[in-house]
Symmetry: C2
């Protein structure tokens, strides 16, 4: 086996962790669960990770890398207009609501709920991952603000957090309802709000009279 093939075990464990933790939650997933999902033995697990908590830390970091790569290569970046990129981001978030719940929900959101009071380092890792993502979209929000709403009372960053709050909260309802319908509807409201605060009249709130 080559070096790449050897390191595959670690990657397989990380990918399995993302899936299993998002499905079962962190505390309820056992090391054996992850090993089984990754088709790897326990010995291999503890060779690559000091402990289960250490895996959680690595998984949070891995999630950050994966998602930033994923969003960085998404098509909405092609536009020259920051507002178009922002709305493109929101639309893209709606488009990727495909397949199983574990495929489109957020690891960090689930993880931080379970660990914020008991695992300070995992909480911090989740915070970092989410903050990084928000910082990236905040760049477009700020550029759009300067262009389209320079007198706005709100900060670009707070809009970034608002967008993510809507997403995270909608994921909770997706889990409660076993489907992404609420996410779609909430993203529609979010999109309308963004249109309104950036003074884009084409995003009307009312039905057209025939």
């Amino acid at each position: 086996m080559t070096t790449r093939a050897q390191h595959q075990s670690k990657t397989k464990l990380l990918n399995a962790a993302l899936q299993v933790i998002r499905a079962r939650g962190y505390a309820a997933t056992t090391v054996d669960d992850i090993c089984h999902a990754a088709k790897v033995t326990k010995g291999s697990f503890f060779h690559h990770f000091k402990s289960k908590d250490d895996l959680a830390l690595s998984a949070a970091a891995y999630w950050g890398e994966m998602t930033e790569e994923f969003f960085a290569s998404a098509p909405y970046h092609q536009s020259d207009d920051p507002l178009e990129r922002l709305l493109g981001y929101v639309d893209f978030r709606a488009e990727i609501l495909q397949g199983e719940l574990t495929d489109y929900t957020c690891l960090l959101g689930t993880l931080v709920q379970e660990t914020y009071a008991t695992h300070p380092d995992i909480r911090a890792a989740c915070d970092k991952g989410m903050s990084t993502h928000i910082a990236i979209i905040t760049r477009d929000i700020e550029a759009a603000r300067l262009l389209y709403a320079p007198d706005a009372m709100w900060s670009a960053e707070s809009v970034g957090y608002f967008i993510q709050s809507v997403l995270q909260g909608a994921f909770i309802f997706a889990k409660a309802k076993q489907g992404p319908e609420v996410v779609h509807e909430s993203l529609a409201h979010l999109r309308r709000y963004l249109g309104l605060i950036f003074n884009q009249p084409q995003n009307s709130t009312r039905k057209e009279k025939p």
Copy 2:
């Protein structure tokens, strides 16, 4: 001891469960944790509840009763205007962000994240509790819609889910950041959105020019 005093054990266990589960998550809280927090023995626990999962079910129902009672007696119901009541609700949600995280976050949101894929009955109980709450606020939203935005493209119910999504998502960030600031900011955006879709110009998006 009177009958009331005897039943106190069960209530103490339920109240303890609300606190401990919101802090540590469901899977990570042990039956002993809850007994200790309630100052009650394990024997008493399993006298009142068949199992830990049975407690979760009871706790979800208990949470529903408690919160609906709490919101029903809140001052914002006094207004005659449904929109005022709705905005009063949102403001009230901001006002109660006091004390510890475990005092203002939502049990059902945490619970459903951990159990949706593995405990169908707990998932359903959480869904029921959240849906009931949304149905109640949707009544005011629908009344406000008929009064202030009869041609609106959106449904009252979807606005109800949107409001709760913002709250639930903001709670996740409150946990990540260890404080309610993000919740306050997200509720400010939410309030502004509601003002806009109900055509209330006083909720301006822009700074006043001096």
